[in-house]
């Protein structure tokens, strides 16, 4: 027993600072946040009355919050769909060695190194909602102006100023920024498929389509899963991009839970802010926990 402690002890001791920090700053705070969300701390004045799940039921009944959940759904679908399509397409084109391949890869990936706040500055201008056909249309800038001048004026639209679909316009910059990342993931996946496997399939008389369908796609599915988890959980947390494009935090059109939590915090409604935080955590956990469980099992095998 003593010998065991001697061999494990130092390791546990070295890990202790991290275990304590993560224990306090992640797990204890999650519990503490949940506790606050069950109180009536709706103003800056400290108040600790236990109200059960009242804040949650009120939130879920609030049309503003329901709309933020709808927006989150649309955002996630467009963000995921866009990054997967472009990421896969680019990886697929760049998979075979080609001249200038490194250049294209670097360009596709570069938006990833820029902050959402910086890219938001230009996207806010690009997605300006004014249209040339509207009164005051001579002030139109951004994509609407570009579409008009290349003869695609009919495609002009009000981008993020649309209450139902506006959030999809916010997803555009997000797709622009992270498709390169998904491409990098898929490229790594493609490179991981041994050449012999393809050769063997070709010798067996596989057509290109069948080769993809039965050999390549199954080999890529773990990569695809990683991409979905990473982009999906980024989408659930997305905050800075929306704030950068739509500086008025209270804008109903593009409100998502993450920005609504900020609005509640600014308004000192700590209980509601905490409740939104917990709801987001549950959404993320539903996606991430099975994934972590799956990877740790896959590692054992």
């Amino acid at each position: 027993m003593l010998k065991r402690v001697k061999t494990w002890g130092p390791g546990v001791l070295l890990l202790a600072p991290t275990i304590i920090l993560v224990g306090v700053f992640v797990y204890w705070l999650i519990i503490e946040n949940f506790r606050v969300s069950l109180t009536n701390q709706h103003t800056a004045k400290p108040s600790n009355k236990y109200v059960g799940f009242e804040n949650y039921t009120n939130l879920l009944a609030d049309p503003n919050f329901q709309h933020s959940l709808w927006n989150l759904l649309i955002l996630t679908i467009v963000f995921l769909g866009g990054t997967l399509i472009f990421g896969f397409l680019w990886a697929w084109i760049l998979e075979q060695p080609a001249k200038g391949e490194g250049f294209f890869r670097s360009v596709y990936l570069f938006p990833m190194s820029v902050s959402f706040i910086a890219s938001g500055v230009v996207w806010r201008w690009l997605l300006s909602s004014l249209q040339t056909t509207q009164p005051g249309g001579e002030r139109t800038t951004g994509l609407n102006r570009l579409l008009d001048s290349v003869g695609l004026g009919a495609l002009q639209n009000d981008w993020w100023s649309n209450p139902t679909w506006g959030i999809a316009a916010i997803a555009l910059p997000a797709v622009w920024q992270l498709s390169g990342y998904v491409m990098a993931l898929f490229l790594a996946g493609f490179r991981g498929i041994p050449d012999e496997l393809r050769e063997a399939a070709r010798i067996d008389g596989c057509t290109e389509w069948k080769l993809y369908r039965h050999v390549i796609f199954p080999q890529l599915s773990p990569v695809m899963l990683s991409a979905i988890i990473i982009i999906g959980h980024m989408s659930l947390k997305l905050f800075d991009l929306i704030r950068a494009i739509v500086p008025d935090a209270n804008t109903y059109d593009v409100q998502v839970p993450a920005t609504m939590m900020w609005v509640k915090y600014i308004g000192s409604d700590y209980a509601d802010a905490a409740a939104i935080g917990t709801i987001l955590l549950v959404l993320v956990a539903l996606v991430v926990i099975p994934y972590l469980w799956y990877t740790s099992r896959a590692e054992k095998r």
Binding site: W8, P10, G11, L14, L15, T18, I19, V22, F25, V26, I30, E32, N33, V36, F86, L89, W90, I93, F104, V107, Y108, L109, F110, S113, S115, I117, A118, S119, V121, V122, W125, L126, E138, R139, T140, T141, R145, L146, S149, P173, A188, P222, S226, A227, H233, F239, D240, P247, A258, Y265, A273, I276, G277, T278, L280, L281, V284, L292, T295, E299
Partner: protein, 297 residues
């Protein structure tokens, strides 16, 4: 079959081969043209926002006419850059002061953790690792309210000190993950040999592991540097325009109702320069960090 017909057949076949060869080459050529056309189209799409950023940042107020929005400046002016620089300079200094030490410290702690979890395993190490890893995925909104309370109770001032603490703590999971995966490829025999020589956990780290760690450190430092530099969420909750990092200053510069487009676009470029330089110089390692974000070792 006479020899003549066989010969004829052979000639025929080779003629067919040549025809299909030619067809294949044309097909390949079309494919290649299509491929490059697509690649270049997407390069234009990706670079379009960058083009707007650069040209608009050099426009004067008179030139900022919306009808000329997509054209090069008539006169290249640097007024926007001067204004952006004077507005952002103090916050740039603060960002460096906060990002560099926190990246170094979390990388160092992550290296120790990764070493223990990969090479000095104890029962339950896997569970501990998964629990640490979960910290990387949580939406920080789910801890933010009590976190503001905790940080102020600990007496850590707003601005640089708070943000430094937070970037170190919440950077630990990913640093640990990257180093654990990195050290998994170090042969166990090296550790065993060092143990046989009577070296303890720390001496083995110092003499065997640390000297091998340079690539791991590069990946982790780049990752931590970039994510802390680009952070806005913690900055919004734990700092103000007076003591905050560059993302906060930029959002104030660009966020008003009457926005100076030239200055805000120049500001966006200034705020992105450090991470862009890192990306251009060390792109390979940058991608390495990205890959490890996908958990798999």
């Amino acid at each position: 079959m006479s020899t003549a017909t066989v010969k004829n057949n052979r000639r025929l076949r080779s003629a067919q081969d040549m025809a299909s060869d030619a067809k294949r080459t044309t097909k390949r050529r079309i494919n290649r043209t299509l491929k490059y056309a697509l690649l270049i189209f997407f390069v234009i799409v990706i670079l379009l926002p960058a083009y707007v950023l650069v040209i608009t940042s050099f426009k004067g107020t008179a030139d900022a006419d919306p009808s000329r929005a997509w054209y090069l400046p008539e006169v290249w002016e640097t007024g926007g850059w001067v204004k952006a620089w004077t507005t952002l300079a103090p916050s740039l200094g603060r960002t460096v002061m906060l990002v560099v030490p926190s990246a170094l410290l979390s990388a160092f702690l992550g290296s120790i953790n990764g070493y223990v979890l990969a090479k000095w395993r104890f029962p339950g190490a896997n569970i501990v690792f998964t629990l640490i890893l979960f910290g990387m995925f949580i939406p920080y909104q789910a801890v933010m309210i009590p976190l503001t309370q905790l940080v102020s109770n600990l007496g850590v001032p707003q601005g640089v000190p708070s943000l430094m603490l937070l970037h170190i703590v919440y950077g630990l999971p990913i640093c640990t993950l990257i180093f654990r995966n990195y050290y998994a490829s170090v042969p166990d025999e090296l550790i065993e040999a060092s143990r046989m020589d009577g070296a303890g956990i720390l001496r083995t780290y110092g003499s065997v592991i640390f000297p091998l760690s340079a690539p791991g450190f590069v990946v982790v430092l780049i990752w931590q540097f970039t994510s802390a530099w680009n952070d806005y969420l913690f900055a919004a909750f734990f700092s103000s325009g007076r003591n905050g990092p560059v993302t906060i200053a930029l959002s104030f510069l660009a966020g008003g109702q009457l926005t100076d487009y030239a200055a805000s676009m120049a500001g966006a470029l200034i705020a992105s320069v450090p991470t862009l330089i890192v990306y251009i110089l060390l792109g390979k390692y940058f991608v390495g960090g990205l890959m490890s974000g996908s958990v798999k070792g």
